[in-house]
């Protein structure tokens, strides 16, 4: 006899299992770290083994890779793209620059901590992280998904005002439509 709660849990488990093994990565090379994405996806490292593949538009994507520093101009596009993605959605911060600004910490045009603007589920450090590190980051994300811990998108929904405030500090001309959150 399966309790209703258990069946829910089983359903959740299956869902998470599928989500974890099928990660569509949005093809968006936001920063210089994008140079390690082709090797990760191609023959030697072959991320497709893990069910990781590219998605062309945000509507189809699950994972947003922020490959390195974000210029303020890009941040605006990243927010738009992130908000166009469908739940559940995950963000991987790629490289030291996403953590604390990295070597561009004093630049006038790059933000310093990515997770103040959009929620980040996994950070991969390094400048730049090797494909192995990228894959291990993905594996970490998969673990979090299975455990139900990768809930950045929920955090974003709940704390939208706070995020918006931070975002609007940088994006002076806020001309964005309201998205589905």
């Amino acid at each position: 006899m399966i309790e209703k709660k258990d069946s829910l849990a089983i359903g959740e488990y299956i869902k998470n299992f599928a989500r974890k093994h099928s990660l569509f990565v949005l093809a968006y090379g936001t920063g210089c770290g994008a140079i390690e994405i082709p090797p990760t996806m191609t023959s030697r490292y072959d991320a497709e083994r893990f069910g990781i593949r590219g998605a062309a538009t945000p509507r189809q994507a699950d994972v947003l890779l922020i490959t390195g520093y974000l210029a303020t101009k890009t941040l605006k596009r990243v927010i738009r793209v992130y908000e166009q993605m469908q739940d559940p959605k995950y963000v991987i911060g790629f490289g030291s620059c996403t953590i604390n600004g990295g070597m561009y910490w004093d630049s006038y045009n790059t933000i310093n901590s990515l997770d103040k603007y959009i929620p980040v589920d996994v950070f991969i450090n390094g400048c730049m992280p090797r494909p192995e590190a990228v894959i291990s980051g993905f594996v970490k994300l998969q673990e979090y998904i299975q455990e139900g811990k990768a809930d950045g998108w929920r955090k974003y929904q709940n704390n939208i005002e706070e995020y918006r405030e931070n975002q609007k500090r940088i994006i002076k001309n806020w001309r964005m439509p309201d998205y589905n959150l």
Partner: protein, 367 residues
């Protein structure tokens, strides 16, 4: 008033764009009526940052300017510093520099194979070539310690000598690559569909190419033998025996042929370097980098990168920090005005194809 032509945003988030830039297309049918490029998505203010860092600290960030091929940046910066200061570097360092530059060129061309074919839908070649590029990156890793950013060429020479057994590894990698290049040729250059797609597409008029300052493979594909390695030889290029690719078609196909030839020539150069490299010091010591002051002066140095002439204009005012560093990447010429002009009248299906054939690399446009 609403425009009649459709606005199509190609980028910044788009699988067809190289790097992070935007080409806004006005499309009538599948013909492009107007193209506007927009850059700045990758602007980090390198030049400003360098003004805050001393000479050696600046050297660690110049390689980040162009990601696919960082070595010409290091080479340029080091050479500019050396030229202003009048520093002489040991002979072996020059050869090692050429080695890294040529390996970087091969790696960059291998990445281009991926981009060019990917934009035409032939992903297999891209998968192979980007995979094979890892072998070059392995060599770099062994030589310099870095996979993507090497920080190897620095003022005074290079940072490390070749490790033991490196020569054999380089040579065997080159042998392997040469074999693989034949495979790519079979799939790409002998492919009738690829020829159909590439021939007669994206033509740059020869006069215009000179007028507009086109550099690198696109210029050589117009039948103009222009290569910094030949015209203004730096390091030891005048002692090497190599040819430059020269084609007359001025289209995507000609550019592809130029690159096909040059990647083979680069392999030849690497072999020559391995044969002829002299023994000796690889590094002339620089003073305490924290207190290292360069005399006032200025220099414009240029290096032939995989995409063309890569120039650095460096001004020193006699302090320990650069007064001004201004970078001119080849994409600076190709990526904005030329691209905008070339895309007008082109077919929508060829946009990404043409961009890849020019080798547009946004980070060097905006830095």
């Amino acid at each position: 008033m609403r425009e009649k032509t459709t606005t199509l945003y190609l980028g910044p988030q788009h699988p067809g764009i190289t790097g992070n830039m935007m080409v806004k297309l006005q499309v009538a049918g599948d013909t492009i009526a107007k193209a506007t490029t927009e850059v700045g998505y990758l602007h980090r203010g390198f030049e400003k940052l360098m003004e805050r860092r001393n000479w050696l600290q600046s050297f660690t960030i110049v390689c980040r300017i162009c990601v696919p091929e960082p070595d010409p940046n290091e080479e340029n910066f080091s050479r500019a510093v050396e030229e202003i200061e009048g520093r002489i570097i040991p002979e072996r360092a020059k050869w090692l520099r050429v080695l890294t530059l040529e390996l970087g060129r091969i790696a960059s061309y291998l990445l281009w194979y991926g981009g060019q074919n990917g934009s035409a839908g032939l992903y297999t070649v891209g998968q192979w070539s980007v995979g094979d590029r890892n072998y070059i990156l392995d060599l770099f890793e062994e030589l310099t310690g870095g996979r993507v950013y090497h920080m190897y060429i620095w003022p005074g020479g290079v940072r490390r000598d070749m490790p033991e057994g490196f020569r054999d590894k380089v040579l065997s990698t080159m042998d392997y690559l040469e074999k693989r290049l034949d495979d790519y040729d079979k799939l790409m250059f002998d492919n009738a569909i690829f020829q159909k797609r590439a021939q007669g597409v994206g033509i740059i008029n020869k006069e215009k190419a000179i007028e507009w300052g086109v550099v690198g493979p696109p210029l050589r594909a117009c039948g103009i033998a222009s290569d910094v390695r030949k015209d203004d030889p730096y390091e030891i290029y005048d002692q090497l025996d190599f040819e430059i690719g020269l084609e007359h078609g001025s289209d995507v196909w000609a550019r592809a042929l130029v690159r096909r030839k040059e990647i083979r020539e680069s392999i030849k150069i690497v072999r020559q370097v391995m044969d002829k490299i002299p023994e000796g010091e690889f590094y002339n010591k620089i003073p305490n980098p924290m207190k290292w002051k360069i005399p006032a002066g200025e220099a414009y140095v240029k290096t032939e990168s995989a995409r063309g002439e890569f120039g650095y204009y460096v001004v020193s005012d006699g302090t320990d920090k650069p007064r001004r560093v201004h970078v001119k990447g080849p994409a600076y010429v190709h990526g904005v005005t030329l691209l905008e002009d070339m895309l007008v009248g082109a077919n929508l299906a060829d946009v990404s194809f043409i961009m890849n054939s020019l080798g547009t690399c946004p980070p060097e446009i905006e830095r």
